[in-house]
Structure formats: structure tokens, C-alpha cells
Symmetry: none
DNA sequence: CATGAATGAGAATTCATTCAT
DNA sequence: GATGAATGAATTCTCATTCAT
């Protein structure tokens, strides 16, 4: 199996950026951490500032208010993620390979930046701004891309054509999503913590894709 | 296929209960609605009271404080759900049938009481009390039960034995979960809105179980 | 000269009012005092609350925010004042008598409730709401009424017809206004403080009306 | 009638001044504008800086703090005004002529620099420093000078001696003051806006002095 | 001189919780 | 029980002032 395409997920500031953009970024990084821990409403600006190592008043030099911080997180992080996803979808590889890449992308994003994913998934959908069409459409794009992969696989005869691709899409993403959530929430024990979780995630991606493609039923059980 | 075991999900108050228990229940119902909409931290006691149609001071006759409301929600609603789940697991039916029952249980719970599920899944894990072992164990119980169904299926040779049952379990539940979330968030268009969504949910459950058991890959594609 | 019509200027709460209205009134009374002393922007909600003898949080039970307090002051106090003014204008007495009544009304209002006048005149015109047509119109009404008195006097031949009634109106009111301001600011010494200032104000009203009607020029000096 | 002595009211910087004094002046000009619009407390240093077209940090090179800006405004602007007033009072012309000159001075000051007058009259009296004897005395000087003109006119027999000169003084100034305020607030319609308001102000000064000296009462109406 | 990032005291506002009625 | 007035701690947000560049 080919190398898994990884998203580049910069956290520390890029030295080529302007100092202003850099500080903005530091605040966003801090905000993501704090929001992931306590939720948007449960987080105080002062928590974010402390996490970023700055005075809280400074936050207001860079962001109009708390809500704008959340919106900025969404715009920046989601874009990074969606771009990587589009890259996978545009490859000319079999559906199975593409789905594995998507799984790896999602799992790696969650493994490397669990806070990003938590905030993107949980907080944003509850914010007032999320009601705006722009944001919802952004989420929809995600399903569009995965749905496109599945539909193309159906057209090529690689995937069963008798199943609704939209359901297949959400089932696939949901399987990945909860797999990682349960890891994050420690509902499942991971043994190889020493390896940074990498092996477990590798196995997880393979297993989920395997189940998703070939089913959990024993050989010859297909109805 | 046998009848789907449904959880009884009472919302309006049971007339056999004491007036006190009745009022308590009304507050919990209201709190679930409000928490689901704005999150725990984003909800005010006065919002809950207004939703329940009572004065906000009265809330404190029935609950010590805001946090206790959340804890009560968890205890009551989760218990109802887990009990139904145990019922399914203890049946002596094939794994496929059991998994379909679980899917129907979860989907129906989400369909009929989406607020319950949102609060149980999103809010509780973030509350302070959730850190307490009791609550975490409760969530774990859920995975335990589904895991047990899968393991038993593997032992009986109905399900593939080469896959980690814990991963299979979370993948299965996650597939169901996001399928409904995307419905709730309107990320997916449902055509038969006229039927109250019942048909779509029926099909959804069947499709998810189908994919989960037999895979999305086209016939003969199993590696 | 007939008795001077006085405005009834209740400050202490009317016992026939509801307790709620009563408390609201107490807050408005306190706010007027504080605004008059430090200006709207220079006043803190906590100052108002302390002056009213309540916790500052309670202010927000009765008013949405600070600005609404100012608006309420305007609506209530200005109405009281304008009503008294209309009463004078509708009398069938000579212009001289009416103008004296107006002078007495304004001076008494200022003498008895200097804070009302300061806030109505100085703060309101600077508030954002004042830009709204409604408020400006309210101020305009005041000039309308006094202007009407003067015009009627001109028509009856009691007052000179060769002078712009609008200018006469503002000159008259301005004369009264600064007379009292200088008192309030202690730019002028008042001797009979013992009498509560009543005599001085009586003389002031008479003198201003005298100058305004008959001029300061010595006998026979009219050009 | 002789020429009206006008105050020279420089706004743009005097090129003979040092660059430092020039920048200081620009800040003061900006501050006056902003204070007149929103009041001292309602104005931010950054508003002043933006109005002056400089960085807000620079304000602190020229002024110790916000309050010193207000004090500087008072010292400079008030001195200019008082000097012109003294010039009028020291002339050996009839009281009527002097009063007309004073009216013209005040009206022109208001017409040309309404912001100056607003700030001098409204803000300064409320500032902490105003409580200091120096500032209060400064205001008193104004009344002293006008009072001196009136008293001299009384002594010469040009003005009635039976009226309190202090009251006459404040009434006169107040008449002028409100006449212009009502213009500024657009409470009165001015027709000749095309002429820059000059004609209206000319007429206004004449009318106010006329009323003030000869009264509004119709011929022969003096009691 | 000039700039604007950085700081943090201070004020407005919110809302959980208490309590008199 | 029921109500909503009252309290004040906690939080968001503002802005005067300082200071590194």
C-alpha cells in the first residue's frame, strides 16, 4: 500500500510570517487548546491569553471578540483540511486506496491535532455563526468530496451500486470519527502508547476501511 | 426480520407519578432541550425555567444547582437507554439481527429524541462530574454491550474473527451516529419528509448494517 | 401678580405605585443625581446603585443597560415639564403674565430639581439616542410652546412685532437658563441662602422678565 | 455702527511656530472636535489621534495624559477669548455699543468655532481640575468683565440702575448662548444657509441686543 | 520623533443562587 | 410550593498609558 498522504499541520509559528500574523496565530493555537478542553462557552478570554502567554487585553487587538476567534479558527483550519481532502479525491487511484487515504488523513488529523478536530466538529456547529449558510456549506463540502469518491467507485464497478452513496459516506466518516473520539475519551485502551499511537492508528485505519469495504460478516455470509 | 425493539421514551409526564416528580421531570425535559440548543455553559437557568413554564426560582426547589440538572439527565436517560440495549444483547438471536436491533434502537432514539442524544454525548463528557469514574464507566458500558454482541458473533463464526471487536464496535456506532447527525444538521437532503422521516430511518438502519456486515466493495472484491 | 403655577415634581416614591414601579423610580432618581454630578460617561452603574441603596445587579432587572436609563429619564421628566408648560400656554392671560409664569416654571424646576435640568439639557443631547428624531422633536416642542406665547403676544399688540419670535424665544429661555447655571456653578453669590433661595429666584424671574420685556436701556433711550 | 472686533481664531497651524508646537496644536484642535462630539469621558485618545492624523502613542509625547489635554484647551482658548473681551470693555464707547461688540464676539466665536465653546462651557466645568480655584476664577472673570460694562453703563445713566447687574449680565450672555445652541442643534431653521450663516448671525446679534436694551414689550407698555 | 504592540485596571453586563413574600 | 426581587462573583470588553522598536 502506498504512502499515506499527510496533511501538513503547522502549529509553531512560521518564521517567515509577519510578527503580527504570528501573534494572531499563537492566539488561535491557544484558543483551540482551551476550547477543546472546556468548550467555547466554558472558556474565558483570560484562559486563552494565559495559554498564549500574553496579556488578555492583547487578544482584543487581534480579534474583535470571542466569537470572532472561533470563526477564525474555522476558516483557517478547515481550509487546510479540506485542501488535503481534495488532493486525495483528485487522484486517479482505486476507490479503496482513496478511502484508505481519507481514513489516514482523518485519523492522522485527529491523532496529531485532536483539539482542532474537536473544536471544528463540536464547537462550531453550536456557534451562532454556524447557522450562516457559509459555514454549513463548508461542512457540506466535506461530505461532497467523500461522496464523490464513493460515487466514482460505484461507477467504475469497484463499489456496490445498490447502496445510497450519501449514507455510505456518512457511515464511513462516522466510523472514523467515533473511533478516534473513543480514543480521546479513553473509552478504549490503547496498548502501544509508547509508539506515540502511530501503530494503533495505522491498524485502526486499515480495520475501519476493511470493515467498510468487505464487511464484518464471516466469509460467505452475504445475504 | 423481527420487530424492532423500541425504547419507551416518555416525554410528557406520567400521570401516576407524584406531582413533585412530575415537575422535576418537566424541568429535566426543558433542560435537555435547552442544553441541546446552546450547550450547558451557554444555557441559563432562566432559559430552562421559561421552557418548562415555571418561575426560575422554582428550579432550585427541585435541583441543588445547574450541574445537578445535568447529572440527573444523565442518570435517568442513560439508564433507560442502556436497559434497552441490554435487552437486545441478551437475546439469543444471530449477531446480524442483534446489530440491526441496536441500529434501530440508536436511530430511533436519535430520531425521536435527538436532544437526549446530543446532551448525553456532547455535554456530559465535558462536565466536571464526567471525570468521575462512575460516569465514564457508564459510557464504557455501552461499548461493552455492543462489543459483547460482536465478540459472541465472532465466537459463533457469524462474524469475522480477524478484526478487533473494539474497533468494530466504535465503527458501527460511529457510523450510526454521524448518519443521524448529518440528518439533524441538514447536511443530507431527505426526500420523504412527509413520512416524518420514518422510512428514511428504516432504510438508513438497513443500509448501515448492510455495509457494516457485507461491505461496500463490489461482489468478489474481497482481498 | 398672580400666583406662580408650579410643576409638581415628585421625588420620593408615590406610595400608590406598585413596588416595582417604585424601585424603578428610585433608580431613575439616583441616576439623575449621579449623571448630573459626573456626566453620563463619567458615571458608573455602581455609583447609581450605591446612590439608590441597592446592589448594582438589580439595576439590570429594571433597565436593559445604561443607555436605557438615560432614555427613561428623558421620557419621564421631560413629559412632566412639557405638560406644565402647555398649561401655561393655554391660559388666556396677557403675554407678560404668561412669560413670567414660564420664567417661574423654569427657574423653579431648576431650583427644586437642578439635576433634572442638567441631565435633560446636557447629557441627553449627547447621547446616541438623542440623534433620533423623536428626541429632537421633543426639545423642539419646548421652543414651539414658548414661541407660540410670544407670537400670540405680538398678534395682540402686547409685544413688538418687528422682532423675530424665534430669536426672542431662545433669548428668553437662554437668559433664564444661564441665570440658573451660574447659580448652580456658584459663579454668582446668593445672599439669602437661609430662605432656601426662594426669594432670590423670585427676584431673578422678575428681573429677567423685566429686562426681557422693557429693556435694560434707561428711560427714553429707545432708538 | 463701528466695526465689530473679531477674535482671531486660528485653526490651521501658524507656520512661524516650531514643528513641535505645531503638532501640539493639531492635537488640541482634534481633541476639541472630538470632545465636542462625544464629551470628555466619551472620547478616546485614539479618536483624538485619528482626528489629528497621527499615531495615538504620539499624543503622549506632547501631553502627560488625557486630562492635561483638556486643561491645555482651556488655558489656550479661554485666554484668547478673554483678551478680546477685555479689549471691548476697555473702549470708551457707549454701553450699547460695547454690548453689541460683546454679542458679536460671542456669536462669532460660536459661529466660527462652535466646538471651542461647547468644550469650554460643558466639559471643563465637569473636569476635576475645574474645581481648582484658578479655573473657576477664570470663568468668573468673564462675568466680571461683562458686569463691569453694565455697571459702567448704569453709572453713566445709559442703563437702568434699578436692576441687578449680575443678573443682567448672565441674562445677556445666556440669551446669546442659547440662541446659538439652538442653531447648532438645528432647533431653529436658518434660511440663509448659503451665506454661511453670516447674515443670520448679524441679525441675531442685533435682535438680542435690541431686546436686551429696549425690551420686547410694545411701545408704551413699560409698567 | 513616530508607531502601534502590549499591559492591566476598570467598567458594563450576565447569571447562578439566595431569600423574602 | 411558587414567585421573582435581590445579590454579587465572574466575565467580557474598553481604553488610558507604557514601552520596545
Amino acid at each position: 500500500m502506498t504512502a499515506v498522504p499527510l496533511v501538513s499541520l503547522p502549529e509553531s509559528s512560521d518564521p517567515t510570517r509577519s510578527p503580527r500574523a504570528d501573534k494572531r496565530e499563537r492566539i488561535l493555537d491557544a484558543a483551540i487548546k482551551v476550547f477543546a478542553r472546556h468548550g467555547y462557552h466554558g472558556s474565558r478570554i483570560s484562559d486563552i491569553a494565559r495559554e498564549a502567554g500574553i496579556a488578555y487585553g492583547l487578544v482584543y487587538h487581534y480579534f474583535k471578540n470571542k466569537e470572532e476567534i472561533l470563526a477564525s479558527i474555522f476558516e483557517q483550519r478547515w481550509g487546510v483540511f479540506l485542501e488535503a481532502l481534495e488532493g486525495i479525491a483528485s487522484e486517479e487511484t482505486p476507490a479503496e486506496q482513496q478511502l484508505f487515504s481519507v481514513a489516514a488523513l482523518i485519523l492522522n488529523a485527529y491523532r496529531l491535532r485532536p483539539d482542532w478536530v474537536k473544536v471544528l466538529v463540536i464547537e462550531i456547529q453550536r456557534s451562532a455563526r454556524f447557522a450562516e449558510p457559509g459555514q454549513l456549506r463548508a461542512f457540506g463540502q466535506f461530505f461532497d468530496v467523500v461522496g464523490r469518491i464513493i460515487r466514482r467507485g460505484q461507477e467504475r464497478g469497484e463499489l456496490r451500486g445498490d447502496l445510497d452513496p450519501r449514507i455510505a459516506c456518512t457511515a464511513f466518516v462516522g466510523a472514523l470519527e467515533l473511533s478516534i473520539t473513543s480514543l480521546v475519551l479513553r473509552l478504549v485502551e490503547v496498548d502501544d502508547a509508547g509508539s506515540g499511537g502511530g501503530e494503533y492508528y495505522e491498524n485502526l485505519a486499515r480495520t475501519v476501511v476493511d470493515i467498510f469495504l468487505h464487511g464484518l460478516a464471516a466469509e460467505g455470509a452475504r445475504a
